[in-house]
Symmetry: C2
Subunit: 326 residues, 2 copies
């Protein structure tokens, strides 16, 4: 019981494969109603399904897009993927998913494989947006997500990191938090972190002592010191959800409480932030939208035949959410 092919349909109806192919592709304008109907019937009877692989080979287009995720474990990314999938689904594209596990070697391999699969385009959430290897990607067929490179070489979809952080910190300052700190993982080379920090500096100033890098020698002690000895009203802004989690682990062992002893805010809004007690004020990225916009933009680019354009930056606005943490 081999699968039925276009040839079978053609024979059943008594026409050539070409005619059936035309029918399949809606190229049906000058086709007699009778043959049309006969073909329709034959297809229905047999439950015929065109073979996508064969189609791809003939058209040289796989109608698939490859997604390269830096770390699928990052809670931020699941909504992004949802957005991507929804958009692709709607346009009849399938999505090839790939996880780099925060390892540049794996990332490179993933990209390579996707290319070999002849994906129509690539959506890239890069580990290092500045990595030179990425410059080899065809900018006509790729869109970057979340992290952007120094000099943009490909369209990129990002949150408005600077502005939203600035506005948020402005609010904190307004509420009387005079001594504000930016808590983060190492910043250098990662645009999201750099830009959020930049937004912070625009309000607080570029005083390096206000930057706390978790994981660095003595950072934990530093935080505890601050809590113990600072004379002014203290506030902390964590660069994303995981940083907030780590920060909480440090605080939890102590007597210090927010918002009593210090103010707290974070980039990213994760489910649990409104359940922490007190709940966390934060900046909510529209990650679903980011995925959607990126996919949408990529698909549009793939349609238009190679008009080369300047790399674009597409910005998706984040929302400030004020709860009880400062």
């Amino acid at each position: 019981m081999a699968r039925v092919t276009i040839k079978d349909i053609a024979q059943m109806v008594g026409v050539s494969k070409a005619t059936v192919s035309y029918y399949l592709n809606g190229n049906t304008s000058k086709m007699s109603l009778v043959t049309k109907e006969k073909i329709r019937q034959a297809i229905e009877e047999t439950g015929y399904q065109p073979n996508k692989i064969a189609q791809s080979l003939a058209t040289k287009d796989t109608k698939s897009i490859g997604v390269v995720i830096a770390d699928i474990t990052n809670p931020f990314i699941s909504s992004v993927m949802k957005g991507i999938h929804d958009r692709c689904q709607k346009e009849g594209y399938s999505v090839l998913f790939t996880n780099s596990d925060d390892n540049p070697m794996i990332e490179a391999e993933n990209i390579h494989r996707l290319l070999q699969q002849n994906v129509s385009g690539i959506l890239l959430d890069p580990i290092d947006a500045n990595a030179s290897s990425l410059k080899r990607l065809n900018p006509q067929k790729t869109v970057m997500i979340d992290r952007e490179s120094q000099e943009m070489f490909v369209d990129t979809v990002v949150s408005n990191n600077i502005a939203s952080t600035r506005e948020f910190l402005y609010k904190m300052k307004e509420r009387g938090y005079e001594e504000l700190y930016f808590v983060s993982y190492p910043i250098e080379g990662i645009s999201t972190r750099e830009r959020r920090y930049r937004g912070f500096c625009e309000v607080v100033g570029a005083d390096a002592s206000r930057l706390l890098i978790l994981g660095e020698q003595g950072s934990e002690e530093r935080i505890l010191d601050l809590l113990a000895s600072s004379k002014k009203r203290l506030g902390f802004f964590t660069m994303n959800g995981p940083v907030l989690l780590d920060f909480m682990k440090i605080i939890n062992g102590t007597v210090y409480q927010y918002p009593r002893d210090f103010g707290l805010g974070s980039y990213e809004d994760l489910d649990w932030m409104q359940v922490l007690n007190p709940s966390i004020s934060c900046i909510r990225q529209d990650s679903y939208r980011i995925g959607q916009v990126a996919a949408d933009h990529l698909l549009k680019k793939l349609q238009q035949d190679d008009e080369v354009m300047e790399p674009q930056r597409l910005v998706v606005a984040s929302e400030l959410i004020f709860r009880d943490s400062f």
Copy 2:
């Protein structure tokens, strides 16, 4: 600058396509060293990459597996996907990812599309494992994840829901919580929920009054009542992370605190549970492992040529984690 094909290589070397194809597929036993070397060189020079699509068409095997996720937004699933990807990657299979958004229609469409793409196999995290439409899937080529159907018709990888819940509740009871409640979303037809509840009943008894369904009429009041009026030591077990989150929202507005006024435990271990204060004791599913095992099993099945076997249940053990919530 068209891509170089096998034909080009053949011409460069001065052999036929067949010979090059043999070389490519390691079918190189009776091939002269010279031609081998010449081919190797030509490939290296040109950077030739075989076209996967053409290969697939010829071999009728796409070396891809389709993944159908009930709801990609569920935090549980991202590690599963990581496990799947790691395993597939290693075997040279690509992963076609698909999100059903908890909508059976979308699920059906996703499956249909994947089949049309000629995926080698399907990994299914089903919305309703008992849905009759799923019975049409070829059990030789599919493995189910997380949720299992009443009468198993396809290999399924699950956590040891009953046993781990039983052990966990046993511990709660041991600690003096005499009045225990199972907090959940609607249970019926969803094996994970049913089985966790079964484990609960094995310790607590099948008293329906001990079952609290969030979202149902009056469930919230019921919980608050219990807290206000119960004379015995009260304990709650939430069926998964999202339920715990909802439960916390109910509690947070009140004066009641755990573990002072009631004990608390949950299925699933999510990052934030150890940061809640007090931290949450829970059952940690090895979701990475689940993904890995499922992918591994599927790939193995695909290798062995159609020996039909009884549907298997593969169980991945969960781990009990005791923290400060009871």
